[in-house]
């Protein structure tokens, strides 16, 4: 299985995402923002960071990178894509996922060990979890407030497209404490917290994050064997 990890100028967690992909047992293919080519990968991770400095709006400029010209149609066609933090923001800016991420309501960057509840354990990226399972992984961002209009929120809830939700106090003012969502096919998932920082004992608050990557691997293998 080959999972691509995209590096934009200003990507920070691309090496971490690659490490997590390897830890789950897949091969990593590094994808370059300026390259209009996915090099035959079976899935893609858009990692965290501050693409292009994120000065304008998070993910606003990365959305127009050449690699996105091929990624967007591929994702619409069912290619599994996971957007973490900045990657989530890029997915929203590209309209692969609805809503937007705005500045945290307390106006500060915030790095904490965050408890999440897995609401939807049937997406490509969460199938290794149990629905309702609580996990602790790092949350770290300045603009992590998920917003969408009421109709969109109702639709997301109704269709079970809220993938992970914050447990405990709302860390950033996200509507309905939404931490991550999926598209209607369940192949594109975006979330603000960082599963790739919780995959190894001794580093990070837990190893709860590894199953995001294991899930994708399992679904890909299923596709292959089917």
């Amino acid at each position: 299985m080959k999972i691509g990890v995209v590096t934009f100028p200003g990507s920070l967690d691309d090496r971490d995402a690659a490490r997590a992909v390897r830890a789950a047992g897949a091969d990593v293919v590094t994808l370059w923002h300026g390259d209009r080519d996915l090099h035959g990968v079976d899935a893609v991770v858009l990692p965290g960071g501050f693409s292009y400095g994120d000065y304008l709006r998070c993910g606003a400029i990365a959305r127009f990178a050449p690699v996105m010209d091929v990624l967007v149609p591929a994702a619409q066609g069912g290619l599994p894509v996971l957007g973490i933090c900045n990657g989530f923001q890029v997915l929203c800016e590209s309209h692969l996922l609805p809503g937007a991420l705005i500045r945290n309501d307390h106006r500060k960057f915030n790095c904490v060990d965050q408890v999440l509840r897995v609401e939807n354990a049937s997406t490509t990226w969460t199938s290794a979890y149990a629905a309702g399972q609580e996990i602790t992984i790092p949350l770290k961002n300045g603009e992590g407030g998920f917003v969408a209009d009421e109709a969109t929120l109702d639709r997301l809830e109704g269709e079970g497209r809220v993938v992970v939700r914050y447990v405990g106090a709302n860390p950033n003012g996200s509507h309905r404490k939404i931490a991550g969502i999926t598209n209607d096919r369940g192949n594109v998932v975006g979330l603000m917290p960082h599963p790739e920082h919780a995959i190894e004992p001794g580093y990070g608050p837990s190893t709860d994050g590894l199953d995001f990557f294991a899930s994708a691997l399992a679904s890909l293998e299923q596709v292959v064997s089917a």
Binding site: P9, G10, L12, G53, D54, Y55, N110, P138, K140, G204
Partner: protein, 775 residues
């Protein structure tokens, strides 16, 4: 010709050339306004055999400033060398004098680290000042050939309740965080200290650590005739011009009359720096860099003269080729600009194409602005006219040296005599409990997560420990887990009472902190923050501090690899406490086997290592409860620290410890509260054994005797642990962790016992900073 040079061509008439300088010896020059003294100006004329051109004057003035030339501190630096033995040099790959020191941490890995101040700029513009402080130290580390792997920030502010603290603190924290987070460097520790003495003089000391393979070390020298001088990174703008000479000179203080030198603030672009880091690492990997230097204080003046001075020939630079953000900049300004996110490399002509291919890939602008010559001078031209022609060494390394008068301040006798002996102390359980809670909420002991949660401690995925643990620990080698631990410390009050002992106490604490995590201490960096060197009392404090650090390092057997001096941290005649911040770096073979500071297992037996004495002078308790500062600081016993360190390292390796926490400000009481709060595991603590040794409960809880660590030994490891503690290190059993205890129960005889539940501890510890700065 570009539009830009076209535009400036007509200005050539006003440019001062070397030819002109030779024929107009009597031209009035603004050497005074640029911060030069009359004899320094005379010295320049003697070096050149003529008056300097205005561009040369600009270069000398910034490079001979206190900040760049260390003119007041240099004479004391011989103490470093005198106290460094051959054994200490064994692991030292690059020592003091380069951009940052480099040490060998084993398995072919080299680590470079350094701490630097950005105090004055952070007072003027807190956010950008602090941000560019981080940016500057990161470039120092990059210029050694390393990948930066973590940052730390040691911060000092005035009174927590002073409006100016409300102004500077949020900006400084957001600046440190914003820049470091955007670079993708985990922030793994630092300090947040409040004291009235820092009012108007906040300290922002930023540390960066980087790693590389030993063979990849790069140095700042321009060698090889014909090699190209390449400037790359951001364009040069009009920001921070004269920042160095002005910000770090006496004229910053209120005393300076004369021309207004409102410092031009620099704005950092962390995204540009992130790209620059990746670009540099690709350049190193491709072996296309023969020499490299970052552009920091004094900008091009510093980079060109230092590279040339460290090289084997001369250098010729065409200043017109420097890409500008503002076409109207004069050559003097281009030489002095401190625009951020720039680097300068020396590149062999045959490798230039490969070099430029890499910079293009990263969208980094790179421009050949000159080359290494077979001459001996640094020659800079502007529109074909020579405007600088100097021996580079005279600019970069042969600046003035002052042996300033020094003397023990007269006030010290009175200060030392005014001990804490007569201060009223809590006695009953109720009083001790109340004192513990007051201390726990006090500015220097309260929870700092309002600050540290603004820093990304996870990025890169190699962080094994970070705040609020005693040391920051990061993995360097992903295969083996080999890595480093770092801690920065300084108690300025101790240094005020006795700068020699205070500096050693800072060294001892940082050394102990990395040992507590389980690392073997290896090397030291320091940031010496002091008042005006023109005050003999300050100069004495400075000398005593350096002596304390240097002699202490000799005892400990670990070298000082580099550091930074910041003078003129004072308001009027009143200097800050001497604040020699010490960073100690230690090595671990596998950082996943490290000791955290919070209890996590039920039934761990608690032991106190080290002796508790009645040492409350200069303590946090005296400060908080009585607003008192006087007496003598606690005794520092470095031989003891070494024995203690050995036990802590062994315990970490053997897995004996559930937790270990170093005792410093606030003493045992603070450490117990923090260890309980960390994971919510309670503890039952008995002070009887200390009382039997003649230590009363108050002293047991609040004394700040050095050389002490609380360890929680996992059930079953007690005997092995006790057998390993040498007789010369006292060990006192204190109790047990206990999940049935809600918070902390302290038993100290019938009248002095008390308990505090977890919720009260937490609320008390957490409320202080959010109460002032908001949620």
């Amino acid at each position: 010709m570009s539009a830009q040079t076209e535009a400036t061509r007509q200005d050539l008439a006003g440019v001062d050339t070397v030819t002109q300088a030779g024929t107009t010896p009597d031209t009035e020059q603004p050497w005074g306004a640029l911060g030069l003294k009359v004899d320094e100006y005379a010295n320049i004329k003697e070096i050149l055999g003529r008056r300097p051109t205005s561009a040369e004057l600009a270069m000398y003035s910034v490079m001979w400033s206190e900040h760049c030339s260390y003119k007041s501190s240099k004479v004391h630096f011989s103490l470093w060398g005198e106290n460094t033995t051959d054994a200490m040099r064994e692991k030292l790959l690059v020592g003091i004098g380069e951009n940052a020191g480099v040490v060998d941490i084993g398995d072919g890995w080299a680590v470079t680290f350094k701490i630097e101040s950005h105090n004055h700029p952070s007072y003027v513009e807190p956010h950008q000042g602090a941000a560019t402080g981080v940016g500057g130290i990161v470039r120092d580390i990059m210029s050694m050939g390393a990948r930066p792997i973590a940052v730390m920030d040691a911060l000092r502010f005035g009174n927590l309740r002073h409006p100016d603290t409300l102004r500077v603190l949020p900006g400084i924290v957001a600046g440190v965080g914003g820049y470091g987070n955007c670079l993708g460097l985990p922030n793994i520790g630092g300090e947040v200290v409040f004291d009235d003495c820092y009012q108007g003089n906040p300290l922002v000391n930023a540390l960066c650590v980087g790693a590389m393979r030993i063979e990849d070390i790069h140095l700042a020298s321009a060698r090889g005739v014909g090699n190209k001088v390449v400037l790359f990174g951001a364009k040069t703008g009009g920001d921070g011009i004269g920042g160095v000479s002005v910000l770090a000179s006496e004229t910053f203080s209120a005393t300076g009359g004369g021309p207004t030198k409102r410092p031009a603030v620099q704005v950092g672009d962390p995204f540009a720096e992130k790209v620059l880091i990746e670009c540099c690492l690709d350049l190193y990997a491709a072996h296309v860099v023969a020499g490299i230097q970052d552009l920091g204080g004094a900008g091009l003046s510093c980079a060109t003269s230092e590279l040339a001075s460290n090289g084997d020939g001369g250098m010729a630079v065409e200043l017109d080729l420097v890409p500008l953000r503002d076409a109207s900049l004069r050559p003097e300004e281009i030489l002095m600009s401190e625009s951020q996110e720039r680097m300068m490399a020396i590149v062999e002509p045959a490798k230039l194409e490969a070099f430029l291919a890499i910079t293009t890939r990263w969208d980094v602008e790179a421009t050949v602005i000159g080359e290494v010559t077979d001459g001996e001078h640094l020659v800079i031209t502007w529109h074909g006219e020579t405007i600088v022609d100097v021996p580079p060494r005279s600019v970069a390394h042969d600046g003035p040296v002052y042996d300033r008068p020094l003397g023990r301040p007269a006030y010290l006798d009175g200060l030392v005599a005014d001990t804490t002996a007569d201060l009223e102390r809590p006695v009953t359980g109720e009083e001790l409990r109340a004192t513990l809670l007051t201390m726990l909420a006090s500015p220097n002991l309260c929870d700092t997560s309002w600050v540290t949660d603004q820093y990304d401690r996870y990025v890169m995925g190699n962080t094994a420990l970070a705040m609020p643990d005693d040391a920051g620990v990061v993995r360097v080698d992903e295969e083996t887990g080999r890595g480093v631990a770092i801690s920065t410390d300084c108690n300025g009050r101790f240094a005020k009472l006795d700068p020699y002992t205070g500096a050693q106490a800072a060294l001892a604490e940082a050394y102990r902190n990395v040992s507590t995590a389980g690392a073997a201490p290896l090397a030291v960096t320091d940031c010496l923050n002091f008042g005006s060197p023109e005050d003999p009392g300050v100069m004495w404090q400075f000398r005593e501090s350096i002596r304390g650090i240097a002699e202490g390092c000799k005892t400990l057997g670990i070298p000082v690899t580099g550091g930074n001096v910041s003078f003129y941290n004072q308001t009027g005649d009143v200097a800050i406490h001497p604040t020699p911040v010490i960073g100690v770096l230690g090595v671990m073979e596998d950082v996943s086997v490290r000791t955290p500071s919070g209890f996590s297992v039920d039934g761990s037996r608690l032991y106190l290592l080290g002796d508790t004495r009645d040492e409350l002078d200069g303590s946090e308790w005296a400060h908080v409860a009585h607003g008192h500062l006087g007496g003598v600081p606690p005794v520092v016993d470095l031989e003891h620290e070494m024995r203690l360190s050995a036990v802590l390292q062994q315990g970490a390796r053997e897995g004996w410890f559930d937790a270990a926490h170093d005792l410093s400000e606030g003493g045992l009481a603070q450490v117990l509260a923090e260890a309980v709060l960390r994971n919510g595991i309670g503890a039952r603590v008995g002070l009887e054994r200390l009382v039997l040794k003649g230590v009363d409960p108050f002293t047991a809880l609040f004394s700040e005797s050095t050389g002490r660590v609380l360890v929680a030994v996992t059930p079953g490891s007690e005997d092995e642990f006790l057998a390993a503690v040498p007789d010369s290190v006292s060990v006192t059993e204190l109790g047990l962790t206990d999940t049935d205890v809600d918070g902390l129960v302290v038993v100290a005889g019938p009248d002095a016992s008390f308990g505090i539940d977890h919720a009260t501890l937490r609320r008390t510890h957490k409320a202080t900073l959010p109460g002032i700065f908001g949620p």
